[in-house]
Amino acid sequence: MEEAAQEVFLKAFTELGSYEGRGSMEGWLTRITTNTCLNLLRSSKRRPELTVSDLTEDQTEWLDKNLTDAATEQHHSTERSLVAADLAGRVLQSMPADDQLVLTMMDGEDASVKDVAAITGWSESRVKTQAFRARRRMREAVEKLLAGRKARRQELGSARS
């Protein structure tokens, strides 16, 4: 994360002369940030698929909590948010860079297809297709984790009884 932030600052400083003032400064910085992060994600090695046994105790607890009240109101606390964010990061790291980008922007930050297309330079149809595939991959990864956790809980339940 810090490496990406450093790279963004350096690029913004060195390419400040190329900013022509046509668009907003925020948009220009967002494009630099997005492209830098995308390049870093593409160059970094993808982690293997995450399994329940790879999770920390906190992450397992978070999943358990969300299995029992997935559809109900979540109990927000800073600690729980950090655990969830860390888990999300681990799940995302097992996915392709483009998937990570589109999921973070569209589902995480509620960016529209048009916004993502403008920032990344992709066509809107590509953004939609990418988002569709990314959601499927993310859902399947989480579904496996949840299934693994459910199976583990059942094992523990039957062992106690």
Partner: protein, 162 residues
């Protein structure tokens, strides 16, 4: 068919922006279909994870600013070297040709005249058919002749006075 429909519904757009009508359809369907229920449950957890992930704010380390400036200076130094090499690539041919021209002029000015003088001084006796020794001997002979001529001239002069 219904399974595919529900799954595609939750994959086409973020759950956060689904309409009330879509959500009602999903809830109604997931009560009967366990596969779609699991998919919907996973989609909900995925969305929650992504939301939490985007909320977290990045706090750089205390030396972040120093490190960024140091890296910037390093890159600028590297860029300066590259700028010189680019300049050399552009003007290198011109500079090389100028150096070659100056070297050629210096050679023609200082080296060639010396060799010409030496060559002339060495080649001139041969060209006239005399060596230096012969010239000296000739000179000696001519001196002797001139002595004889001198004596003759003296004696002739005496006879004439008599």
């Amino acid at each position: 068919m219904k399974d595919e429909h529900i799954i595609s519904l939750i994959e086409n757009a973020s759950l956060a922006i689904l309409s009330e009508n879509d959500l009602a359809v999903i809830h109604a369907h997931t009560k009967e279909c366990s596969d779609c229920f699991r998919a919907f449950e996973a989609a909900q957890v995925s969305l929650l994870l992504l939301k939490e992930h985007s909320i977290v704010q990045f706090e750089p380390s205390p030396f972040f600013h120093t490190r960024v400036l140091a890296t910037l200076r390093e890159r600028q130094a590297v860029n300066d070297v590259w700028a010189f090499s680019r300049l050399w690539r552009a003007a290198g041919a011109l500079a090389s040709s100028m150096v070659a021209t100056v070297a050629a002029l210096a050679f023609l000015t200082f080296v060639i005249p010396d060799t010409q003088v030496a060559t002339i001084s060495q080649a001139s006796p041969n060209a006239n058919g005399y060596s230096a020794e012969e010239v000296i001997l000739d000179q000696a002979q001519s001196d002797e002749v001139s002595d004889g001529q001198l004596l003759t001239t003296i004696y002739d002069g005496d006879e004439e006075t008599r």
